[in-house]
């Protein structure tokens, strides 16, 4: 089996035996599933673009009144650094650096994710305070849906991290857990990918 036919992301490597083989189809399957998730985001991006005009804004507050680009920049940094931190998890699993390190890296990722969510939710609350609730206009509906769906994904990612910590605690780092951690890695990086799109098209384009 040549290395390049494997799933995307950091592979476990041949010395993981069964887990490496299982990951072949399981992580690939998860990756395929994320591609369908990507379509969901893609359609929401297209929707956002279509509501970003005076008709879609419907006289409600617009990007210039609502967006706080500093906060968005902080969110971006937190999320992307959290993504990089996942490399710690992947390398710990790959080179067998033990349970303690693994849990520590997972907690670092969760902390960065939670930091991102803190700033995002703070923004949503302040936007709602300025009269920017999703019930006001088509554009605001699509902004809240797109940003909110990404936020829900991050939240699910954090839940998944804690579920994995639970699994590491109860069953150790066995083959199944290794494969699941590989999937979580693909998911965690996928969130960064979506965020790059949101940062560029949702925030920067209308402010430019």
């Amino acid at each position: 089996m040549s290395e390049n036919s494997l799933y995307p992301g950091l592979n476990l490597g041949d010395k993981h035996g069964d887990a490496h083989v299982q990951a072949e189809s399981t992580v690939f399957g998860f990756w395929v599933f994320l591609m369908s998730d990507l379509i969901i985001f893609g359609i929401l991006f297209a929707g956002y673009a279509s509501y970003l005009d005076p008709i879609g804004l419907a006289g409600g507050p617009g990007p210039k009144e609502l967006f706080d680009i500093n906060s968005v920049a902080i969110q971006t940094v937190l999320l992307l650094v959290g993504g990089v931190a996942y490399a710690g998890v992947s390398l710990t699993v790959k080179y067998g650096h033990g349970r303690g390190n693994l849990v520590a890296w997972l907690l670092v990722c969760a902390a960065f994710g939670a930091g991102f969510l803190f700033f995002e939710v703070r923004d949503f609350i302040s936007q709602a305070g300025k009269g920017g609730t999703p019930q006001v206009s088509g554009w605001l509906s699509s902004y809240w849906t797109l940003g909110g769906l990404h936020g829900i994904h991050v939240f699910c990612g954090i839940l998944w991290i804690f579920a994995m910590i639970g699994q590491v605690a109860t069953r150790g780092i066995d083959d199944v857990v290794k494969v699941r951690l590989s999937m979580l890695g693909v998911f965690w990086h996928f969130l960064d990918l979506i965020w790059v799109g949101i940062f560029s098209f949702v925030f920067l384009v209308p402010l430019a």
């Binding site: 399957g29 395929v32 969901i40 359609i43 929707g47 999703p134 019930q135 849906t145 639970g166 069953r171």
Partner: protein, 701 residues
């Protein structure tokens, strides 16, 4: 409904059943809806009593509901689909019966069997059921049953996920079913276009039933698509190269890819509509910057690929049966592969032809019109390939071939009317008329329904060990062909005469002659349904005479015919090594194909689990709670569903091990039985002498 929302029961109260309407006003419409609700209730009670009386609950739970075996999951999908098909056909008949009595007068503009609102619910549930809960489970079920066997795999890539997908589909079907008894269904047609289906114009639970049925079952279909794709990419037997796969596997791959990329669009459009309805968002409302054209676009980004999701498995079935029953190798394998993949790709570029009249520029319409005409080309290639396959073959007129013949004749007509509609300027004249209704029934019934029924007939012996009655099978097929012609050909004429689709009433007496013919067709369709049920029942009673333990009743050439019928849980005693396309046929050509493996090993199978069942219950409860605004139950389900998955993740799950000795014993018994059975010649195929061991000297495929 009328009062306040109760914290415990939400909007549910005693007045939501159709019996309340019946008590208030007795007329044909309320009698029909109360009758339908009673059929649901009495049917449910009858099943409960029957299963308790026969002591079937235990076996049902152990052998079926908790089984992650793709073959059993496939059979359950098909069973679900056939139950829903019965409701769909009966509703279709009521629609025809209504319109045959719906001629209004100036004095009495409303007429007919059912009230306009009831009629609108009928065509909405009919469409929803036929697309999402008949066609989809039929094809997903058939693929589940056949695909792993044809690939030389023991199971799907993700067996438990497969079970969950079935559960999600069943929950959706359950929601549509329960709407017969509790509350009303939406009246916006199967597409549920806003703003009509927004909160302003459609308050109440009707649209919500549709939304949650679609959201939940759509999730299941997405996961199924992923499962099929991974199975095909990663689980093929050694030597089963892509270009050695049977054509049914190729069309399954197309379906998988289309499910993965098309279903999310439906999820998005439904979720946006749900946000509009539940949270006051403005995606598709008339005011505050809503834009309903986005709904039409997103919905049909799913909707058009969906049409080909439905038809491609049928094309796969027709490829298998045209070759098997004419005793010839499939003509133009490579061209069929290319045509299938072309259809899968082009199907994503034609969605706009569903709303040519929405107001795009002429240039946009022309581009999509041309794409629509282009997609007819690979379909035409396929029709010629199948005809060339049968050309000069020794064609046996079995039931699947009757369906195939009906398909050839009728599908081409449907395709041609599609090419007519693909021309935007013609579409402006006939859009939203019964011409369109005739067109899509003309492709879906001969395509999907005939294809799936032919497939069921073809693979039934593999699942249950006995053939279906050919006599009754052919009668059913002919009734479905005749029923189709009488029901839908008049609709072409009516459409050209100017009758809009979904009309609860009309004032033109010239329509009546055609309406009566269509209603007669509806009667034929009911007879076809009865005949289908009778086919299963009479074949079951004659199962000893029809038994085919040899497992290869049609002298087939693909891997699934190498195993016993019914096929054992582990499918293959050893994973086969594939050397050629049509490997089983090549083994027949080379001499003794039924040679057992030399050694046997333990077989690992996924253990049974109740997870799918729990998720079915949880997702149904979630949908039901959202429809009726029972918020506590919705929150509970939202916590319970991920909780179940997380808890399962903590547990170590041991696979089920079938010991080598048991496999060896069963397999040797099968080989001995094959050796002891007299080979049946082609002429004996429909007689009792067909025991599933064909005369391999006659094999020419």
């Amino acid at each position: 409904m009328k009062g306040m929302t109760s914290p415990i029961f939400g909007n549910l109260d005693w007045t939501v059943t159709p019996y309340t309407d019946l008590l208030q006003q007795v007329n044909s419409s309320t009698i029909v809806s109360a009758g339908a609700a009673s059929v649901l209730v009495l049917g449910g009670i009858a099943v409960l009593v029957l299963f308790t009386w026969m002591g079937w609950w235990g076996p049902l739970y152990r052998n079926w509901l908790t089984s992650p075996d793709a073959k059993k999951i496939g059979i359950m999908y098909v069973t679900l689909a056939l139950i829903m098909l019965a409701r769909g056909i009966i509703e279709g008949f009521v629609i025809r019966a209504h319109q045959a009595t719906a001629l209004g007068t100036l004095a009495r503009p409303e007429s007919g069997l059912v009230s306009p609102d009831h009629f609108a619910q009928l065509f909405s549930t009919h469409g929803t059921i036929m697309i999402f809960f008949v066609a989809m489970p039929l094809l997903i079920g058939l693929i589940n049953f056949v695909l792993p066997q044809q690939l030389g795999a023991r199971d799907m890539a993700f067996p438990v996920l497969n079970q969950i997908s079935l559960g999600l589909t069943a929950s959706g079907a359950g929601l549509v079913m329960i709407s017969l008894l509790l509350g009303k269904f939406g009246t916006g047609g199967w597409t549920m276009y806003p703003p009509y289906t927004g909160k302003d114009f459609s308050p109440g639970e009707g649209v919500d039933y549709w939304l949650w049925a679609i959201l939940i079952s759509g999730m299941g279909s997405t996961l199924t698509g992923m499962n099929f794709a991974v199975t095909i990419f990663k689980k093929r037997a050694p030597g089963m190269h892509f270009m050695r796969m049977p054509l049914f596997c190729w069309t399954s791959l197309c379906v998988a890819i289309m499910l993965i990329y098309a279903m999310p669009a439906l999820t998005v459009s439904s979720a946006m509509l749900a946000l509009d309805r539940y949270a006051g968002f403005h995606f598709f409302t008339n005011d505050a910057g809503g834009n309903m054209m986005n709904y039409a676009n997103i919905f049909w980004m799913f909707g058009h690929p969906e049409v080909y999701i439905l038809i491609l498995p049928a094309f796969g079935v027709f490829s298998e049966i045209s070759s098997t029953f004419s005793g010839k190798r499939l003509y133009g394998y490579t061209s069929l592969v290319i045509a299938s993949m072309s259809i899968a790709v082009i199907s994503f570029t034609v969605w706009l032809h569903h709303f040519f009249t929405m107001g795009q520029s002429a240039g946009v319409n022309i581009a999509f019109g041309i794409a629509t005409m282009i997609i007819g080309v690979p379909t035409g290639v396929k029709i010629y390939d199948w005809m060339a396959t049968m050309w000069r073959g020794r064609v046996r007129i079995t039931t699947p071939v009757v369906y195939l013949t009906g398909f050839f004749l009728l599908f081409v007509i449907g395709g041609l009317s599609g090419i007519i509609l693909a021309n935007p300027s013609i579409d402006y004249q006939v859009h939203n008329s019964t011409f369109l209704v005739a067109h899509f029934h003309n492709v879906i019934i001969p395509g999907v329904l005939y294809g799936m029924l032919a497939g069921i007939h073809y693979w039934f012996p593999k699942a249950f060990g006995f053939r279906l009655s050919e006599t009754w099978g052919r009668r059913t097929a002919l009734l479905f062909v005749g029923g189709f012609i009488f029901t839908f050909m008049p609709l072409y004429v009516l459409g050209l005469m100017g009758m809009p689709r979904r009309s609860p009433t009309f004032q033109n007496p010239d329509f009546m002659a055609w309406m009566y013919i269509a209603a007669f067709g509806g009667v034929l369709m009911l007879c076809a349904l009865a005949s289908l049920v009778w086919t299963f029942w009479t074949s079951y009673r004659n199962r000893l005479a029809l038994a085919v333990p040899g497992g290869d009743p049609w002298n087939g050439s693909t891997l699934e015919w190498s195993t016993p019928a019914p096929v054992p849980e582990w499918t293959f005693p050893r994973i086969p090594h594939v050397d050629k396309r049509n490997d089983w046929g090549e083994k027949k050509r080379a001499g003794d194909p039924w040679k057992g493996p030399e050694t046997y090993t333990d077989i690992e199978l996924p253990a049974n689990t109740a997870l799918g069942l729990l998720i079915t219950g949880g997702s149904f409860a979630l949908g039901f709670a959202m429809v009726w605004h029972i918020w506590w139950l919705a929150v509970l389900c939202c916590l319970a569903l991920p909780g179940l998955v997380a808890l399962r993740g903590m547990r170590l799950i041991e696979p089920k091990i079938i010991p080598a000795a048991q496999v060896e014993e069963a397999d040797r018994r099968f080989r001995q039985q094959v050796a002891s059975l007299a080979p049946a010649s082609r002429a004996d195929e429909e007689t009792e002498r067909n025991r599933g061991v064909p005369d391999i000297s006659e094999f020419a495929g």
